[in-house]
């Protein structure tokens, strides 16, 4: 129990200002009954004690809760008491108490109890739970939670094999959640809504055509245009987007952890957002269809010749492909050269395809050459995508300025900062880093040794200062490291070798 509390202090789970509720099985009452040796009696007494303690703690917690600026609460409970606290009759009290607390420390728990606690929170509080562990005893807990994170290391790979995510060191958890988890949420939301939007636009344009074909089911586009729309002309940009999109950089994601709330509040996939995309798709499909068909009702160039069905639909299709790809660019928060390559490449692929295809395929023979020989094509090629994207542009302009998302405000605050990717090997310290950052960057470039205690929450001590001293980089001593060295029995001679 003491060890557990000390470790919790070291991890900053508990601090001195917090009010601690301790439910321990080491009380005098229980010890007395234990000495008597009667198991049945022991069970009964323990249950009574635990119930009493829980009730007391819960009442105190309620009191603190009612006052506005009460201290934070922490609960420490050990395995034996937990066994009785997870009993169906006491479970609810335990859950209520632990949900009111900022931290809960359970020590000496068995793997089954770990899983039971996780399930209690998962089912009782109906929140998303994440559990992290590195050993085989954590497997059941990892599997019980919504998200299980395993730490791969020297305790073996059992936890990793049972987990949803595997990381190498405990401290990567913050990266996993705040950086990659957040980006992943953003990317998935945007990719899914964009996918529905582009297909809706494409299909609705055909839909408006059916009203004017006597509902006979004649397709507006040529078959191969339709088949290759999702495969060749609009697929690569959205893949690149899903891989590389970042709303704010990694360091800013960690600096503003409140940005994570956007995922919790589901701000990018609400019904309102989906409805906006759908409305945009409907509007654009109307523009594509009616602008193109209304402007081709008379002769098309100075020789008075008329367009046929396939000419009109090729013009419309070209506009659809270009608009949908440009819409993706409008949606990007960070555009790499792959974005430009994929968007430009997709539009280029369309043109190359239709140039070749219209030489081969009978019903659309020479269609593209016919339409490109008229001024009309170029004028409508300029007009139609612009009008189609106008609504989205207005919406973005208004939303961005008057109702900005948090990440957009963060982007604006840090708009003038460079990316800070310094990875050319040596100790390249640019003028932008503070001395502290420069120092930690220098240390991170030093050769490291594997940390054998990867399950712990603090770094391996000592080596940093040793190697750093060798390279001439000054490192301030860590408090606990000084204490640790001072408490070692054998006085080591300086320089101190890394202790293993």
């Amino acid at each position: 129990m003491e060890t557990a509390i000390n470790i919790a202090y070291a991890c900053k789970l508990i601090s001195n200002e917090m009010k601690q509720f301790i439910i321990s099985s080491e009380t005098d009452v229980i010890r007395e009954v234990e000495e008597r040796g009667d198991q049945v009696e022991l069970a009964r007494v323990m249950k009574e004690e635990v119930k009493k303690e829980l009730k007391k703690c819960l009442e105190e917690a309620q009191q603190y809760f009612n006052t506005l600026s009460g201290p934070k609460l922490a609960l420490v409970i050990d395995g034996k008491c937990l066994m009785y606290a997870l009993d169906p009759s006491l479970r609810v009290m335990l859950l209520n108490l632990s949900l009111n607390c900022n931290s809960v420390v359970c020590c000496r728990v068995s793997p089954l109890q770990k899983a039971q606690v996780t399930t209690l929170v998962k089912k009782g509080a109906r929140k998303i739970t994440l559990s992290i562990g590195d050993g085989a005893n954590d497997v059941s807990m990892i599997q019980a939670a919504h998200v299980g994170v395993g730490i791969s290391g020297l305790e073996g790979m059992q936890a990793v094999m049972a987990s949803d995510f595997a990381i190498a060191q405990f401290r990567f958890l913050s990266d996993l959640l705040l950086v990659h988890g957040r980006w992943s949420y953003l990317r998935i939301c945007k990719v899914v809504t964009y996918f529905f939007y582009k297909n809706l636009t494409f299909t609705l344009t055909q839909f408006w055509f059916t009203f004017q074909t006597g509902f006979s089911g004649q397709r507006f586009y040529d078959d191969w245009f339709q088949s290759l729309y999702n495969v060749m002309f609009t697929s690569l940009p959205v893949i690149i987007y899903g891989l590389l999109e970042k709303d704010v950089s990694a360091s800013l994601s960690k600096k503003y952890p409140q940005l994570y709330m956007e995922g919790i509040r589901n701000s990018f996939f609400k019904w309102r957002v989906v409805a906006m995309w759908a409305f945009s798709a409907i509007y654009q499909s109307l523009i594509f269809y009616y602008f193109v068909t209304d402007s081709t009702s008379t002769g098309q160039n100075s020789s008075g010749k008329m367009f046929g069905l396939w000419d009109v639909s090729t013009v419309a299709f070209t506009c659809v492909v270009v608009t949908v790809n440009l819409r993706l660019l409008m949606m990007c928060n960070s555009m790499t050269r792959w974005h430009y390559i994929s968007v430009g490449g997709s539009v280029l692929a369309w043109f190359v395809f239709v140039f070749v295809y219209s030489l081969i395929r009978e019903n659309v023979l020479y269609v593209i050459y016919v339409i490109m020989s008229t001024f009309y094509f170029y004028l409508s090629f300029l007009l139609v995508p612009t009008v189609a994207l106008l609504l989205d542009f207005i919406h973005q302009g208004i939303q961005r300025w008057f109702f900005p998302y948090d990440y957009q405000v963060v982007q604006e605050i840090h708009r003038n900062e460079p990316d800070g990717y310094l990875r050319a090997g040596g100790l390249e310290i640019s003028n932008h880093l503070t001395p502290d950052e420069a120092r930690s960057f220098a240390i991170s470039q030093l050769p490291r040794e594997t940390s054998k205690h990867t399950g712990f929450a603090f770094d391996s001590p000592g080596y940093e200062s040793f190697f750093a001293a060798q390279q001439g980089v000054y490192v301030p001593q860590k408090a606990w490291d000084v204490v640790r060295r001072a408490s070692m029995r054998s006085k080591a001679k300086a320089p101190l070798p890394p202790k293993r």
Partner: protein
């Protein structure tokens, strides 16, 4: 799924030998793509950008709109509906019967030219309520057969107009079978106006789609006659009426080029049109119209593009002003942290 792992290399205890360290390292090969550190452009849509985009669009679009609208206004178009008036009074109760019965269907119409029309003047026939875009209709043709003589037997998609008396029809299909066969002759003050019927179809159709050695065979031989017949001594690439007709239109109201008048028409000229009212649009309430039109660099009389450009240009100008006013009325400093949601609603 592995998250990105920063470099972690092992070193032999106590020694800092770099080569030994790299050999045992589990560090993945560094690439800017996989570490997602590609240099990126991070555009922020500031008010400046919004307003300047709108201004740019309006500056580009308004002149184009003016030019298009001027071009369209300079086109003179005369439309004359003749399908009802060309049926004699006595037969107006049963138009279908009249059109299907044999006999002379000549009809004379007088068209007054409103404005001076420069040559060439394009003559179109316009059909309403004729669904050339119906699925069964569009399907009913054989492009292979049209192109080469050797594929004359490729009539599978042409049903029901594929074979007649056991022989394949060239050209097969409903589209060819329903060929428009009204004819028009123009004269002014008793003098015949020459009508050029060459070059009314797209060049690519004439050269690539309709073969030079494919001749009509077995055409309109059946019991049900759907439209015009073809001269079997002319190859298909020279049958321009057929070529124009077979370029199926997109909408149920369409017009197709019939010919070009190579003379100027003065204002107040009266053109006498001698037309043969043969085509049956009465059984489906279709309309037939004769259109005389000049053409500009943009084509026929269609205000749509011009109006659309002007509307969009004007709208963008208006939006630029609205946004300017909005941004002045409700200013917000770029990067104002008080807009962060946790600063707006504390607790």
């Amino acid at each position: 799924m592995d998250s990105n792992t920063p470099p972690s290399s092992s070193a032999a205890a106590g020694s800092a030998d770099p080569s030994a360290a790299r050999r045992n390292s589990k560090r993945p090969k560094y690439s800017r793509f996989t570490q997602q550190e590609l240099p990126a452009c991070k555009p922020i849509l500031t008010p400046g950008w919004v307003i300047s985009s709108f201004m740019l669009v309006s500056i580009v679009f308004i002149p184009i709109g003016v030019a298009s609208l001027l071009a369209s206004h300079n086109v003179v178009e005369i439309v004359d509906r003749y399908d009802t008036v060309c049926i004699p009074e006595s037969a107006r109760n049963d138009k279908v019967n009249y059109i299907q019965s044999p006999g002379d269907k000549t009809c004379t119409r007088n068209i007054t030219v409103t404005k001076h029309m420069k040559k060439p003047i394009y003559v179109y026939y316009q059909l309403d309520n004729f669904y050339q875009n119906h699925r069964r209709y569009v399907k009913s043709r054989s492009d292979a057969q049209l192109r080469s003589n050797g594929s004359a037997d490729d009539v599978s998609s042409c049903e029901p107009e594929d074979k007649s008396n056991g022989q394949p029809i060239v050209p097969c299909g409903l589209i060819a079978w329903s060929l428009f066969n009204d004819t028009y002759d123009f004269s002014r003050n008793g003098q015949q106006l020459s009508l050029n019927k060459k070059g009314i179809s797209w060049k690519s159709d004439r050269e690539h789609k309709f073969g030079k050695n494919v001749f009509p065979r077995n055409f309109q031989n059946g019991s049900l006659i759907g439209g015009g017949s073809l001269n079997s001594s002319l190859p298909l690439s020279e049958q321009e009426d057929l070529i124009v007709w077979m370029r199926t239109a997109a909408l149920p109201t369409f017009r197709k080029l019939y010919g070009k008048i190579e003379d100027d028409l003065q204002a107040n000229d009266v053109i006498m049109v001698t037309l043969e009212n043969r085509y049956n649009t009465y059984s489906f309430n279709g309309k037939k119209k004769l259109v005389l039109s000049t053409a500009s660099w943009l084509g026929g009389k269609n205000d749509f593009l011009g109006i659309a450009y002007l509307t969009v240009g004007g709208l963008c100008l208006f939006l630029a002003m609205v946004f300017t006013i909005l941004y002045l009325v409700k200013p917000r400093q770029l990067g104002d942290p008080s807009y962060l949601s946790w600063n707006r609603n504390p607790g």
